[in-house]
């Protein structure tokens, strides 16, 4: 498995965990009756907090991931060639983490797929308001659809890395 695939899996799993944590927290609060069903301020602040948690978790996990990956590459290089120096190991790490035109094309195409899912969720959320559901439902639908859209972006990237991608 390549560096890009590992990085995508890490960030997708992080996104899924944050979404799962939000769902558990939100459903728990709602079921306990601690929050009024129409308290939009509570839901908005909860979502903002979880967006912050998601961003912080992504940054921390990516840093840890890159440190672990660099260590594993260095260890592999040392085992393979006991004579290799630090400069050589650094070059190998850099070569492994390079982002080229194929990565950019895959990112572009999968971002589009992610936005399609987020867009469908947004329209469905607006539809729920029209169908007289509460604004809390709409807010949650939007938040969850954007999170799921981001996860689908990751799945699409993995698919393109496995199956290949062509211009046009």
């Amino acid at each position: 498995m390549s560096y890009q695939e590992k990085r995508i899996i890490t960030s997708t799993v992080t996104g899924a965990l944050v979404l799962g944590a939000y769902c558990i927290y939100a459903i728990g609060k709602y079921q306990s009756g601690a929050v009024a069903p129409e308290d939009l301020k509570f839901w908005a602040s909860t979502m903002l907090i979880f967006i912050g948690i998601g961003a912080a978790a992504t940054i921390v996990i990516q840093i840890v991931f890159h440190i672990l990956l660099s260590i594993s590459i260095a260890v592999k290089e040392k085992i393979r060639d006991g004579q290799c120096d630090d400069e050589e190991i650094e070059k190998t790490i850099e070569a492994e983490m390079v982002e080229d035109e194929m990565d950019k094309l895959i990112e572009l195409k999968s971002t589009r797929i992610g936005f399609i899912f987020a867009g469908i969720g947004f329209v469905a959320a607006l539809g729920s308001l029209v169908l007289t559901f509460s604004p809390v439902v709409m807010l949650n639908m939007m938040f969850i659809s954007f999170s799921i859209g981001s996860m689908f972006e990751g799945f699409a990237q993995l698919y393109f890395y496995r199956k290949g991608i062509h211009n046009g």
Partner: protein, 74 residues
Amino acid sequence: MARKFKITNNIRKLRFFANEMTQQELAKKAEVSRQTVNAIEASKYSPSLELAFRIADAFGVKIGDVFDYEVKGE
């Protein structure tokens, strides 16, 4: 019937004749990742013209010696 173009390549053969050059070595010369070289070799990715020239340059041959295309559905 619409014509379909499939880009084929001789990278594996050229690597063999270049003293069994590894994908990593070719990737370094062409300034891309090893995975991209692997995808191009397996015809899973069609490179840009610029990258195609860089790959040909890495082997010291013309672009036509590395890449070719098949026309299907004529």
